[in-house]
């Protein structure tokens, strides 16, 4: 199974067309292997991006250098996956009972 250890989801605020263009460049770049959950579209709608752990540093640097406002909505994707897995196993157990 693919693991997502340390991968994070960033919620990035977009305030103008220039920021949409810069963010579009970032998410379309092959270098960072980003998975866009909510794309840059109009102002006022935040963008959600899954950032693999290996890309965290360069992506953070890019966002800081360009003056983006962002927060981390998921600190560790693998932890969520593990919780979900546990929940599914628990539910399967209940079904058997």
């Amino acid at each position: 199974r693919e693991k997502f250890l340390g991968d994070q989801v960033f919620r990035i605020n977009v305030r103008n067309g220039d920021e949409i263009s810069k963010l579009s460049w970032l998410v379309n770049s092959d270098n960072f292997k980003l998975d866009v959950w909510r794309s840059p579209s109009t102002f006022g709608r935040p963008v959600d991006v899954l950032v693999p752990s290996v890309s965290l540093q360069p992506v953070r640097s890019f966002l800081a250098s360009q003056g983006f406002e962002y927060s981390v909505t998921i600190e560790d994707l693998q932890a969520l996956l593990d919780d979900e897995d546990e929940e599914m196993q628990h539910n399967e157990g209940q079904e058997r009972n």
């Binding site: 919620r11 959950w37 909510r38 579209s41």
Partner: protein, 307 residues
């Protein structure tokens, strides 16, 4: 009487088994129909809800799970199937819909992707078709429909999450639905269920141009969003795909609309983003319940405005 836990996530086999049980429990109302096979040869099943009457009655298509990782959409669909059989002849609005129309429900529109999310990569979104000349697998099945194919909001790169595929309908999962709907010839409504960020959208995704029926669709969607919110206050944003979320060509509802199915909508089900696509199991039933109110509102409008 079912032992199926609707508040949990399940394997493809469990979902298919439950579809079979629903059809066996209510043979006069429901049948399980195979509409094709996926790339990896898994069957694609729809549940047909019909109270009889003429052969090709006006029909509604409910599509879920086209993006495999959006598990709450498949879960909502299977809950909806049980809701329809439970409420028929108890809920006058639903009964009135089924007296006049058939409902076709496809709970897992991307079976290969769904299985892959449970065996290899929980975040998988696309199909599992192979791309000659590329190590990357899969096409985004919601960029693969013949509606401004390969236009805005898609990628020609097979490694992208929004890869549009080599040509429209290249994905057998998409082609199977297209052929079924075209052969039937009397669909009046197409609703696609996705998850993430609480939106209810209508055509177009491939252009900012207003759809000819945009005003009516907007009104229908706003009423549906209000019905949905009445349960627990979940707020949906309503509008055309292109300006509400982002430009997206080759989508299912744009294809439906351009092929004469006027009432075409996409739901993005409840998810604040704090769980990603991993909406906790405790939220499945509440999500399905509120979505049902929105769906029912749309279907009632379609029934009263057949064209």
């Amino acid at each position: 009487g079912s032992h199926f836990n609707y508040g949990a996530y399940h394997s493809l086999e469990a979902i298919y088994h439950e579809m079979d049980s629903i059809a066996s429990d209510f043979p006069d109302l429901v049948s399980r129909v195979q509409i094709g096979c996926s790339f990896e040869h898994r069957p694609m099943y729809v549940l047909k809800f019909s109270t009889g009457g003429e052969q090709q009655r006006p029909a509604i298509w409910l599509n879920a799970g086209i993006h495999s990782r959006e598990w709450v959409s498949q879960a909502t669909a299977i809950w909806t199937a049980r809701k329809i059989v439970s409420d028929y002849q108890k809920d006058p609005a639903l009964s009135a819909i089924l007296e006049k129309m058939d409902i076709f429900l496809l709970p897992v529109a991307n079976p290969d992707g769904y299985v892959y999310t449970q065996t290899h990569n929980r975040m998988w979104r696309k199909t599992r078709s192979l791309n000659p000349g590329s190590l990357c697998v899969g096409t985004d099945p919601n960029r693969n429909w013949n509606a401004s194919f390969a236009g805005q909001g898609t990628s020609a790169n097979p490694c992208s999450e929004v890869y549009h595929g080599p040509h429209a309908n290249s994905e057998v999962e998409v082609k199977s639905v297209v052929e079924f709907i075209q052969n039937h010839g009397n669909f009046k409504c197409f609703v696609d269920l996705h998850s993430y960020s609480q939106l209810l959208m209508y055509p177009y995704g491939y252009t900012v141009k207003k759809a000819p029926d945009a005003e009516e669709l907007d009104e229908v969607a706003r009423r549906a969003a209000k019905a949905l919110a009445s349960l627990s206050g979940t707020e949906y944003q309503v509008g055309p795909t292109c300006t509400t979320v982002y430009p997206a060509s080759g989508s299912s509802i744009d294809w439906a609309y351009d092929n004469g199915i006027k009432y075409a909508f996409t739901f993005e089900l409840r998810d604040t983003g704090h769980y990603g696509f991993l909406l906790p199991a405790s939220q499945i039933v509440p999500t399905a319940e509120e979505t049902w109110l929105g769906l029912r509102s749309i279907m009632a409008h379609v029934r009263d405005h057949l064209y």
